[in-house]
Symmetry: C2
Subunit: 358 residues, 2 copies
């Protein structure tokens, strides 16, 4: 079994962890390597729970930050092993996981080994199954079985944020809007009622909908309401009796799931609406004292996070949380996934400067 | 092998042919029985071609009528053997094929044997594979391989018409109307373009569409334009880049297929429209002298036929054609398919009175 060398540069370490495939459901080998590299660090108290590894400092500091990252990736598509490439003169590391989020993971692993006496106590958390359904998410599982491990004043998730600090995240809700009709032979359509025609106002309301921009604790969250699926029809000669429009509402963290559901029901008033899935957003939490210190140390302008991330799990536990990691989130899951080398180094510097004793 | 007794009543003969399953692709046994019963009739010249049986009188009359019926049914669904039932005091024969169209077939078989010297020469045609795609339709096949057998001045198809005369039929055209967009993550919808939202005007035009009533040779054909299928969507968190609406246009026989296609393209002007399937309608042809005699003899008020039927094949060969058969077409293919006994007898009387020497 190859060893992970935590004294290597964070860029070399990114290359190493990317070249060890760990697609969701197949993370155990990488988890084993991480455990083997972290367990000997005398300043860390290490817990392995399934494929989650928790490593805590106990310096006696008055405050604690949880710094977390997932170790799985979406499926590889001929983009492993990594390659060094250059775009417009700038060096990049190319390949699956470079953005989402093994560069962030590499920075965390390196600093976990290096910072033997951080200014603030740190709970490092590396977890499995982030890229699949929430029921299998390692962080979710552990937050239920071992909430004690999540004790902290602030949390940082290493998800790609272009090296900026992205606060909180929008919530997400899915609903199915249904229209009903009466089947009939299409040669005698007047005997039936066309459920697809009845969905015309549903699409019209979606097309006319103007999403809100909502300011929450100084950040402006851009909402969205979109059809993500439509289906209806029985056969080529039958008037359809059912049409379903699945919509996805991304809502600012100032709204609760119940408020978001009410909003969707209002938009589609007069139609059958079934809420099928929902997850609350996370308030940016940037007014917490540790958050303010962190922002000052890394010198980044905070931005809102639009996509739902696991910061919402910390938020649900009452812990302010932000996203901070190298890589452009729009290249996550992309076949041309790639991270600027400079962003890996910048995030490493940012975290180190904040956590190092002054 | 049981014999078909063509001297039985048309009701008993309906019962007999319904109790011999002949779902499309499995008609040969019934075709064999029909051939065995018809072949000995000295006044008939019989041709077997695949599972099509053609039986012609040669009385030397100056005019000829083609009287046709299909021998297959849609799949049986626990509704064979037939049963005698009563609804509101009226006797019915219940079971698969009683409406579509073995009652009409039975009347034709009985009269083919009985009318040894009809007033007008008759070409009887019983054919296979009407309930499946046109490429396998026995009448369609024979009209291409033996158009000579279709010589005639008038044609009657025994499809269910409630014992009334239904002239011609509407044409039918299917088209797919497509909208395009740009995929994006639904958390950042503003980067993409939603193809489902773009379909809002397509559904609005369908919902607002008022179909025409078109008078053709004295009959009023009711048109219809309907969505029969809609689909779109990639995943629950992706802005969809394609939406397809399949529409079915039923158009009066005064319009050609090209005119119907132009109409559909006009309705959806500004959208991508692909015509996927089309079949011309059939003009009622009730102004033909034989048709007028026939209407007078059977004493029926002619009505328009809305559904597309094989009368259109005769129409395409230049032969005026009508539908005339027992049973309510709305019960065709229905699990509770059933025919009023009185309608079988009425259609038998109607055809006999018209064809018998005066």
């Amino acid at each position: 079994m190859p060893q992970l060398d935590l004294t290597a540069t964070s860029v070399d370490l990114t290359r190493a962890v990317c070249d060890i495939p760990s697609v969701s459901d197949d993370e155990s080998h990488l988890a084993d390597l991480i455990e083997a590299a972290i367990r000997p660090q005398a300043h860390l108290d290490v817990i392995r729970d399934g494929d989650v590894i928790v490593a805590r400092t106990h310096t006696g500091a008055s405050q604690r930050v949880v710094i977390a990252g997932h170790i799985d990736t979406v499926p590889i598509n001929d983009n492993v092993p990594t390659r060094d490439i250059e775009i417009d003169g700038e060096p990049y590391l190319w390949g699956r996981g470079t953005v989402d989020m093994k560069s962030g993971l590499a920075v965390q692993l390196k600093l976990a080994a290096e910072l033997v006496a951080p200014r603030i106590d740190v709970t490092w958390m590396w977890y499995d199954h982030e890229e699949v359904d929430a029921a299998r998410n390692g962080l979710n599982r552990l937050s239920q079985s071992r909430p004690d491990l999540f004790a902290g004043d602030f949390a940082i998730l290493g998800e790609a944020s272009n090296g900026q600090v992205e606060g909180g995240c929008n919530g997400t809700l899915r609903a199915v809007v249904r229209t009903h009709g009466v089947r009939a032979h299409s040669a005698r359509a007047w005997i039936g009622e066309n459920a697809i025609h009845a969905a015309a106002p549903v699409l019209a309301r979606l097309a006319e909908y103007r999403p809100r921009d909502v300011a929450v604790a100084g950040l402006v969250y851009r909402e969205g309401l979109n059809a993500v699926r439509i289906s209806g029809g029985v056969a080529g000669n039958v008037i359809p009796d059912l049409c379903e429009v699945e919509v996805n509402y991304r809502f600012a963290p100032s709204s609760s799931v119940d408020q978001a559901a009410d909003h969707v029901r209002n938009v589609f008033a007069g139609f059958e609406v079934e809420i099928t899935d929902a997850a609350a957003g996370a308030r940016p939490g940037l007014d917490a004292p540790l958050a303010r210190e962190f922002l000052a140390a890394v010198g980044a302008e905070p931005r809102p996070k639009y996509g739902w991330t696991d910061v919402a799990r910390f938020s649900a536990l009452g812990i302010p949380a932000v996203n901070y990691g190298p890589g452009d989130p729009q290249l996550a899951h992309h076949d041309e996934e790639r991270v600027p080398i400079a962003q890996i180094e910048a995030v490493e510097r940012g975290l180190r400067s904040w956590l190092s004793p002054s």
